[in-house]
């Protein structure tokens, strides 16, 4: 049974489907012709729609001139037949060629007579329900993060008591990935931030004739806030997302399950090296970012204020205290811990589909940056209250 008459039918002799209606003595005769294929079917919908049965009217569908028919064509015809019969009319399909009969029988067997309509557009109540649902999900997620924190603390306590359990190779490799590979981007961005701070500061302070305080602005801005904050955000985007993607991909491949069956604890093997690695490396990166930021500031002040490097360093010593530096450095390991914790936690939350790796990775970066900035704000308040 083959649907088309010859191969050429695909292109040239594909005629549009047609339906001609004529009145007989006691019946309405519908002469169908052409190719009833999905692609051309739209042309016949209107003429079909126009057939509105009266009560007790008989319709005879003559299929003898149909060239070819596919399942969609058969479906349209059968739905019309059903509609006529429901309205009280009578129908019959006649003179169908063998290949058409076969398609019609197949479709009749499988079609759903009452296709339920698509879901309606959602209303206000659904919006409320969604809001509530996501709020509960959020609190649940937060609870999960806290319990993961507990797991990690217990595991790290065990490792610290027994340092031989620390996976040194993995730790070093993570430190290389997180630290050394991030040097160019962290350096460049910090340098530019130093330049921008100095340039903007010089412009504003010039009005008071206090241009020299540009150096104070650069020093305090970079050491207390900008150095650590930008480094943390870059690392969250670079390494936090990498943690989620790496662990998530392993989860999809069932590697995590394999580890558990071999007797390896994924927290020991995957999570702790990443957390320790980041906690060690982020303060170093921050120190490096501070230096690069100050160099950027130096470059700009030397140009705009016409200072020598020596004068810049002298002013810097007056402007910045050791306290400013330590305030920045103090935040580094805390931010590092949070970024790594969230990255690993989201990685372990990946379900068994590739799609969820992407979703969790986005979530990990957003959450990490959010927590870093919120904590930074809290620290600012804390330090100003404590007068540090």
């Amino acid at each position: 049974m083959h649907r088309f008459i010859n191969n050429d039918a695909v292109f040239k002799s594909l005629t549009s489907p047609e339906i001609k209606v004529s009145q007989n003595k006691n019946a309405t005769l519908c002469q169908l012709s052409g190719s009833w294929l999905t692609q051309g079917l739209v042309n016949v919908l209107k003429p079909l729609e126009a057939i509105q049965p009266q009560r007790e009217e008989t319709f005879i569908f003559d299929l003898s001139k149909i060239q070819t028919m596919d399942t969609a064509g058969a479906l349209v015809l059968l739905q019309k037949q059903t509609a006529i019969e429901r309205a009280g009319g009578k129908t019959s399909l006649e003179h169908a060629p063998d290949h058409v009969t076969q398609i019609i029988i197949t479709v009749d067997e499988h079609r759903i007579k009452d296709c339920p309509p698509a879901k309606k557009v959602r209303g206000f109540t659904d919006l409320l329900a969604d809001t509530g649902k996501s709020f509960f999900e959020l609190t649940y997620k937060f609870g999960e993060l806290i319990s993961f924190l507990g797991l990690v603390l217990i595991a790290s306590y065990r490792q610290v008591l027994n340092p031989r359990r620390i996976r040194l190779t993995s730790l070093i490799s993570q430190m290389e990935q997180i630290g050394i590979h991030a040097l160019p981007i962290v350096g460049l961005i910090s340098f530019l931030i130093g330049v921008v701070l100095a340039f903007q500061g010089a412009g504003q302070l010039e009005r008071f004739g206090a241009q020299i305080f540009t150096i104070n602005l650069v020093a305090v801005g970079v050491l207390r806030e900008m150095g650590i904050l930008l480094t943390a955000i870059i690392v969250a985007g670079r390494s936090g997302s990498a943690f989620t993607a790496q662990i998530g991909t392993m989860k999809v491949n069932e590697e995590i399950d394999a580890m558990r069956t071999i007797g390896l604890d994924p927290i020991d093997v995957l999570v702790l090296p990443r957390i320790f690695g980041l906690v060690i490396v982020l303060p170093l990166l921050t120190f490096y970012a501070d230096i690069m930021g100050l160099i950027g500031g130096a470059a700009m002040t030397m140009i705009t204020l016409d200072l020598s490097l020596f004068q810049y360093i002298r002013h810097l010593q007056d402007a910045a205290s050791l306290g400013d530096f330590f305030v920045g450095m103090f935040k580094a390991p805390i931010f590092a811990f949070i970024i790594a914790l969230i990255g690993c936690h989201e990685g372990l939350q990946v379900s068994r589909s590739a799609e969820s790796v992407g979703r969790q990775t986005t979530r990990s970066v957003v959450e990490a940056i959010f927590f870093v900035i919120v904590l930074d704000a809290l620290f600012s308040i804390l330090f100003s209250v404590l007068d540090i």
Partner: protein, 260 residues
């Protein structure tokens, strides 16, 4: 056993096809004719380029040399519009269904129909529901996302999408791989039923000896960068050691016995 074919009309013809990746030549001077209405199984050891051959026919892989004629049209000569029309005559089921994961099963099918026709959306939904039923899935499966389906159901949903525009030629990449024996033989029956009722030509890559026996009219064996096509009875008499091992090994013999 599948019936003997009446017609010998050819729908796809490959002439002197050559496929290579770098220096590695996968196919060289490969000739293959696929007849209208047949189910042809493609077998071959791993790395012989079964999937590459299929991807070459459907246009996902650029051939290095040779001609491909689909429904008497040389794919290199036709306009891009005609090529799109030709593509619509072919449906492909990828190994794990390759359904769009962000759409429900029904939307997966509707997307194909909406892209190529101007039919009203209620009718498109009805057509999608019909395809889902043709693929042997329950109606409710239409509203599910691919990730909520089992492997076997995903493959059926993949078939439903491949059938969206009522193609004449259906390509199947390892349709029964990863299915349990019951699921696999049900899938064989589904393919046979669809082939018969819709008049399809089916090209399937498979390693399932039972499928080869149950539904394939002819079998193409990829050997020495070429393909050898014959019925399974004739192939078992081949002297080539790989073919002998394939059909005459313990699994091959078991499959032959159960389909006698």
């Amino acid at each position: 056993m599948p019936k003997e074919l009446k017609t010998k009309e050819i729908v796809i013809s490959l002439k002197n096809i050559r496929n290579q990746f770098g220096d590695q030549v996968l196919h060289n001077e490969l000739n293959l004719d696929i007849r209208k209405g047949e189910v042809i199984g493609i077998v071959g050891g791993s790395g012989t380029g079964k999937s590459v051959l299929m991807r070459t026919i459907v246009g996902l892989n650029e051939k290095a040399a040779g001609e491909i004629l689909i429904l008497d049209k040389n794919v290199d000569d036709v306009s891009s519009k005609e090529l799109t029309q030709l593509r619509q005559r072919m449906g492909v089921l990828f190994q794990d269904g390759a359904l769009f994961s962000s759409l429900t099963v029904s939307q997966n099918i509707e997307a194909v129909i909406k892209e190529h026709t101007k039919l009203p959306s209620t009718l498109v939904r009805e057509i999608a529901a019909l395809k889902i039923s043709l693929a042997g899935l329950p109606f409710e499966a239409g509203d599910k996302y691919p990730s909520e389906l089992s492997g076997g159901m995903r493959k059926r949903a993949g078939i439903a999408r491949a059938l969206a525009l009522d193609p004449d030629i259906l390509f199947l990449d390892e349709p029964t791989a990863g299915l349990d024996p019951i699921g696999a033989s049900q899938f064989d029956q589904l393919i046979a039923r669809l082939q018969e009722s819709l008049g399809l030509t089916v090209v399937m890559i498979t390693h399932d000896l039972d499928s080869l026996h149950a539904i394939c009219n002819r079998i193409g064996v990829l050997l020495d960068k070429k393909i050898k096509v014959d019925t399974i009875q004739n192939l078992t008499k081949e002297p080539d050691p790989w073919i002998k091992e394939y059909f005459g090994g313990p699994r091959g013999r078991a499959a032959t016995r159960s389909h006698k």
